[in-house]
């Protein structure tokens, strides 16, 4: 039995586990099981997966960062590396912390980490994964289960959580498979306790009395937010990293009573949804950059016909197909002005799963109330990373359809005009099937009735009518949120999913005694000028952080406020930020 060491008492400490191997080795499942096991023990978790754009044989890794305090993103360094193949040892051993551990298959791995990396200070923990599986008469793929069982022992974490999660993961479909996996995990666990010559790395402990937390991805949260928001229509064409929304919706099609259609392409996904929304169904579509290109003409149609629409744009690195399964925030400027002509739209970018839920819900309300298209920007990192979060607060979540008329109201309306030029620019809306509401939704510019009209005065009037919506909209959209001390030497300025790494980096710097806070933007168009300026005015020095090459958010800020951040940090290598190097870069920038 190995010696127990809890190396640091600090609650903020993060334990970083990485499991790696070929696609098909069950890397994703193991990562998810680990995440849930920690969550059930009251810990905070943030994960991410890295995989190339190919199906099998590619090198996949799953990182699980665990802490007793809230953890927002990824760590560059790894404490426990679970290597299911040689490549993982070769590629990731250098990421190990000196007090880390590399756990690998004793019989399967011909290479010895110590020989490969003579300077290696981390502890080497060979475990006979294959042999244990064989003894249990299990499938070879179950090596992953053995390995995570062993991992639990290595970090001195209660096996019961793991057992629990395995049972609820496999058990639903097949109790026997569940039992076999629990057995395998237990064998791994026992091997470490009973036979392995190694020490324990106790960085985190279960937290008693912690609230129950969900573990889910940004895409899960977006889907749930939309469903809470009365979604009735979801059409899509598969595209990473948006596809899992389609899978979720399809899996719950019957339970939720929504229509889910996979269409022939994104043009059809977008315009079919416009048809459904025109007919009265709350509608959403999701895609990535290439598919969004194909939805852009329809986006303008939604705007001109004043049909509510929600577009989820899950970014990945471009241009073109770029890195199809990697991360970037490179489509902001595209989203801000996509499609010909001037029109009012909302562009918003949630920063984490909780925001993804609430602001997708809000997106559906905004689309309906202002009868405009709303673009929800996500990215590979937000869409696919798992994160622990408190159960979504469902109180006060009122679906607001705005000026949607009932048949009774319509009956009283005299001389109904679909595009009536009202004071706030929003016109009462009838739906096909309603008596007294007959109108033509028209992508050509038109007069109040919907009839095409080319008169210059009418054109100006109707453009102004549609733009009137900006007033109330600008007033209601939230400004950026300030995290950390209200007053600091430097303010990190960021948007969307960069929130997580920036939160971690800020916390690291605060712990180091640096004076820094964080200003995070969700709502980008219309830009919350007043609120942004108020907050920025107080910043002594601003450091912009984003995941693209041309600092697209900074370009937006310059356009909107004629203000640029003092220092720019950019990353465009297809990977999200890691907390420590980001903290270093920020510290550097503060000099």
């Amino acid at each position: 039995m190995p010696r127990a060491v809890k190396d640091v008492a600090d609650k903020r400490n993060v334990l970083s586990i990485m499991i790696g191997g070929e696609a098909g080795y069950g890397i994703m499942t193991s990562g998810e099981i680990l995440a849930r096991s920690f969550s059930r023990g009251g810990l905070h978790v943030h994960t991410d997966v890295e995989y190339p754009s190919l199906i099998r044989g590619g090198h996949n890794t799953y990182q699980v960062c665990v802490s007793e305090a809230e953890v927002w993103g990824l760590r560059e360094k790894v404490d426990v590396l679970i290597a299911l193949d040689d490549l993982t040892i070769r590629e990731h051993t250098r990421e190990l912390r000196p007090d880390g551990k590399v756990l690998f298959d004793l019989y399967e791995n011909p290479i010895d980490p110590k020989k490969e990396f003579p300077d290696l200070r981390a502890e080497v923990v060979p475990v006979p994964l294959s042999q244990i599986v064989k003894e249990k008469n299990g499938d070879k793929v179950m090596r992953n289960t053995v390995s995570i069982g062993a991992c639990m022992a290595l970090i001195d974490y209660d096996f019961s959580f793991l057992e629990d999660v395995i049972r609820s993961t496999f058990g639903k479909k097949d109790v026997e498979v569940g039992n076999a996996n629990v057995d395998a995990a237990k064998a791994g666990y026992d091997y470490i306790i009973d036979k392995a010559k190694c020490t324990v790395l106790k960085r985190v402990s279960r937290v008693g009395g912690a609230p129950r937390r969900m573990v889910l991805t940004g895409n899960d949260a977006i889907a749930l937010g939309a469903l809470q928001g009365g979604l009735r229509w979801y059409s899509a064409y598969p595209m990473t990293p948006a596809s899992s929304i389609l899978h979720f919706m399809a899996a719950n099609e019957k339970a939720t009573g929504i229509v889910v259609r996979q269409t022939e392409d994104e043009i059809a996904a977008g315009t079919m949804a416009i048809g459904a929304s025109y007919a009265g169904a709350r509608a959403m579509v999701a895609t990535s950059g290439g598919g969004f290109c194909l939805m852009v003409e329809g986006l303008g149609l939604a705007a001109m016909t004043e049909t509510p629409m929600v577009y989820v744009l899950a970014q990945r690195p471009g241009p073109s197909t770029g890195l199809a399964t990697r991360h970037e925030q490179g489509d902001l400027q595209f989203a801000l002005d996509a499609s010909q002509g001037d029109f009012v739209r909302v562009v918003l970018a949630p920063g984490d799963v909780d925001e993804a839920f609430h602001h997708t819900f809000n997106a559906l309300n905004l689309a309906d109330r202002y009868q405009i298209p709303v673009i929800v920007i996500s990215d590979r990192y937000l869409s696919e990373s798992l994160r622990t979060t408190l159960p979504f607060d469902l109180s006060g979540k009122k679906i607001d359809r705005g000026k949607l008329l009932t048949e009774e109201q319509l009956a009283e309306a005299f001389d109904y005009k679909r595009y009536e030029d009202t004071e706030d620019g929003v016109s009462p809306r009838a739906l096909p099937g309603m008596k007294g509401g007959l109108f033509v939704a028209n992508g050509d510019d038109h007069y109040e009735t919907g009839e095409s009209n080319e008169d210059p005065d009418v054109r100006k009037q109707m453009m102004d009518k549609r733009f009137k919506k900006l007033k109330a909209l600008t007033e209601e959209i939230p400004g950026p949120t300030l995290y950390g001390p209200p007053d600091a030497d430097a303010t990190i300025v960021t948007w969307g999913s960069c929130k997580g790494p920036c939160m971690d980096a800020m916390n690291i710097l605060l712990d180091k005694g640096r004076s820094v806070n964080l200003l995070h933007f969700i709502y980008l168009k219309p830009f919350p000028r007043k609120l942004a300026l108020e907050k920025l005015k107080k910043a002594r020095m601003t450091i912009g952080v984003e995941s693209n090459r041309t600092s697209q958010f900074d370009r937006l800020m310059r356009e909107e406020l004629k203000v640029s951040v003092d220092k720019k940090i950019r990353k465009y290598d297809g990977r999200p930020y890691f907390a420590e190097p980001l903290a270093n870069e920020i510290e550097e920038a503060m000099r």
Partner: protein, 284 residues
């Protein structure tokens, strides 16, 4: 009961005098009236083109969308509220050019919509370029030396896509057309009616006279529209003789019958609020 006259909107058609579209407009209003449909339950959907102006001229609901996308918009409307009668008005470029993909997929999906293609073998609204149905050798602004591409044959493509109702009408025979449209609307599933529609301004080859000389009625010819092999033959007939009428008809459940959510009635009539807590449960 609504009469065709009552279906006339306040917008005056701005098609060229003599254009085949006038007759199509008359026929569609006639068919709606004949079927006793309530105008509030009818939606006319269109893309962009001369043809696409039709919804403005009929006093029902309408959606004048973008070029090539009438069919997805129409499908979305129909699936969101399958109590509506949804009729799409497309041009030949609209439906068989830029919209070809949607056409094929709408047919195979068999969504319960009626597709009327105003086929004038030319791009009308853009003042006369070649169209996917233009015949080989046809001279236009974009093919001054004559088109070097063979025209598409929409009817065989429809049958090949799994369409369940495929017909051809002629704007020069509005009474016949009116009947065909009514039949198409009544048909359960997607129905295609390709309509020979002379463009008197830009197509000086395929004129009323040109078509009149060639068209014949399949019913008169004793054609059995349920015979697929014969239907395919007829669908390929184009030249000296051009068949009109119902070319092919079969039965297959329309998509609206298969979509689970619609079993409880139209999507738009279902309650908005739902309890997502059971869905949240799986994430702990």
């Amino acid at each position: 009961m609504t009469t065709p006259e009552e279906l006339r909107s306040t917008v005056i058609p701005d098609w060229c005098p003599g254009c085949g579209n006038h007759a199509i407009l008359m026929s569609v209003k006639g068919a709606i009236a004949d079927l006793g449909l309530d105008p509030k339950d009818v939606v006319l959907v269109s893309g962009i083109g001369c043809s696409a102006k039709t919804p403005h001229y009929v006093k029902t609901y309408g959606f004048h969308a973008i070029h090539g996308r009438a069919l997805p918009v129409a499908s979305g409307i129909r699936l969101a509220n399958h109590q509506l009668t949804v009729i799409a008005h497309c041009g030949d470029g609209d439906c068989y050019g830029i919209g070809m993909e949607h056409f094929i997929h709408a047919m195979r999906r068999n969504v319960n919509i009626t597709v009327l293609v105003h086929n004038n073998q030319i791009y009308g609204l853009t003042t006369g370029q070649t169209s996917p149905t233009s015949d080989f050798g046809f001279k236009t602004k974009s093919t001054p030396g004559g088109s070097i591409e063979r025209g598409v044959m929409p009817l065989i493509l429809a049958i090949g896509s799994g369409a369940t109702f495929v017909a051809r009408g002629f704007a020069g025979n509005p009474k016949h057309l009116r009947g065909l449209i009514a039949e198409g609307i009544t048909h359960k599933g997607a129905s295609l009616i390709d309509i020979l529609q002379p463009c008197v301004t830009f197509n000086h080859v395929n004129t009323f006279a040109w078509y009149r000389e060639r068209v014949y009625d399949l019913k008169d010819a004793g054609h059995d529209p349920t015979d697929r092999a014969r239907a395919m033959e007829k669908a390929l007939e184009w030249g000296d003789r051009i068949p009109t009428g119902v070319i092919y008809r079969t039965e297959r459940p329309p998509l609206d019958d298969l979509v689970p959510a619609l079993a409880q009635g139209p999507l738009v009539k279902q309650p908005l609020e739902r309890d997502i807590r059971p869905l949240m449960e799986r994430f702990y």
